[in-house]
Symmetry: C2
Subunit: 336 residues, 2 copies
Amino acid sequence: MNITEFAALAGVSKSAVSRYFNGGYLAEDKKQQIARAAQQTGYHPSAQAQTLRTRQTRQIGVVLPKLSSESCARVVEGVGSVLRAHGYQLLLVDTANSTEQEVEALDLFRHNHVDGVIFLASIFTPAHKSVLERMHLPVVVVGQKYDGYSCVFHDDTGAALALTRLMLRAGRRCPGYLGVTLHDHAAGLCRRAGFIAALKEAGIPLRPERMCLAQFNMESGYEQAKALFEKAPQVDCLFCATDAIALGAMQYCREVGRRIPAGLLLAAVGDSRAGQSAAVPLTSAHLHYRTSGAEAAELLLQLLHGEKTGVRAVELGFTVVERASTGAPCTPPLQW
Amino acid sequence: MNITEFAALAGVSKSAVSRYFNGGYLAEDKKQQIARAAQQTGYHPSAQAQTLRTRQTRQIGVVLPKLSSESCARVVEGVGSVLRAHGYQLLLVDTANSTEQEVEALDLFRHNHVDGVIFLASIFTPAHKSVLERMHLPVVVVGQKYDGYSCVFHDDTGAALALTRLMLRAGRRCPGYLGVTLHDHAAGLCRRAGFIAALKEAGIPLRPERMCLAQFNMESGYEQAKALFEKAPQVDCLFCATDAIALGAMQYCREVGRRIPAGLLLAAVGDSRAGQSAAVPLTSAHLHYRTSGAEAAELLLQLLHGEKTGVRAVELGFTVVERASTGAPCTPPLQW
DNA sequence: GTGCTGTATGGTATCGGTTTCATTCACTAC
DNA sequence: GTAGTGAATGAAACCGATACCATACAGCAC
């Protein structure tokens, strides 16, 4: 059933029907006629035809590295809750941590004419830069600050600083570091910077042999913890860039009999559910991922509605949740 | 740039351009002309206009209860990987566990003319039935068997049976049960049935005071574990419908000093990351969620391509991963 | 009565493609 | 030579809406 048929059935013109659904001058009796007919037939205007004419899809593209990562999923939850409330739908692409697929997905959205894009960023390459520039669409970058674009990001440096500081203030003097690739600006570079700042603040020299890089998973955390402790057994507190890495390290400690927190303090970023109920509940910085998703959506809505706010960068804070892995008495888990 | 302009620029007719992109009789020299022009201008046909004419959106609607649930995220990963390989995009709706929103989302997809729908089902109400019937689209239900529709589901009964059996064979005789609402056919009804079957098999009478219902989260698991042990302190092994519930129970045991596995064997369904690195690594049934997502996508593709396979129900197996919570020596975590 | 404003109306062009159709042409078969 | 076939072509109809436009009418001020 299309608008022409429906209009005939309702005994009015196409224009009247269009005005009924979109607002516009329309006599009361016609409104009622159309309402009745719509009730009976279940007629609904075709979203595609509307899109073709209005050039609005009311769809937002979301590009993310890994959906099964708890943090990503929370960001998307936040994005979705806000956008759906405003009548937008989410077109999701999980790029499985592949830079190539990321660029491909952004390009797809460019052609597919979504109304806007939310990009959960990890690593920025020149290819990203290029595709983002060609994209004549509102874009909001989440998780990193990226000049020239609206972004929502976290205080990764501050979180790492606070956690490391916490461990140093507990009297430890041989801090270790398990991070991720420095190409990842937020999780790699910033968190490392925070760690280093804490050392500097405490007057502790930086020792490269106490720092290792891991992948974003528990297995890699295990491997790198092993490598770290073989090189630097004297490490007495350990900052990890992600909860998963810390859990790998915890597993290693469990196996070799190193006690936490007695022999090693452990802290990480992410505040995942796995960290909460870990062997030794994990001290972690809560990064408010759901909030950053929601905030990104709000920013995008502003761009979409053409409010003259322009490009804005929003930095969100963090909450350090102290648990047993840094010697805190075990507290009830943070409410999600 | 639209097809008319582009055709003029390339020095061919609209029809030729259309045939170039869709296949059809076209002279070699024209093909090359068009290819060259496309290269230069970056022209791409409008997806919306194509959709209007062809009535194909190449988008698949996915309805799910909670994205930040690890199992849901994995299913969606599986769905996405298969569908994207076939040129389909995912339109995601997270219904936040609300039945109302679920029905609303399905209705939205019906009007929005996605090519098909994948529905991660939890609870079926008459409203679901009604909206699914009106939906003249291919639908695949994931997580539950639902007559008349293609489904992919897990052997929930078998998994619960196997886990409970495992604990009983270890010599325990007072099994407890922490489940979820029976309105949830798979996680509620089937897993309870498996638990009961194991008791029957072992000749152990069913004791209602040893069975409690919880919500799908750790906090509720904690509360219900407390309730359970206050009613039935003699319980010496506990089956939980989900990992999160088991982790709540574990937390309670930790607080009251009940030892696992010495004082209580604990097993659940889901094999989450949190369970793997829990205080006592959790024995759990791995349900192959990613696979079920992929399988559902394949089923949907068959329906979309009109292969005369008709409605099919696919049941997937499970893998019991024995860990310390049932007394197994701790094994390395299952590769995801 | 005239001019102006705001409400109401339906016809028609338009969005950007695909598909049908009639036609032409080259080639083969008889 | 003629009929038949398949390749190639571009004009035009079509998909289902919205937006513009010209027009009409009622109410009010002057």
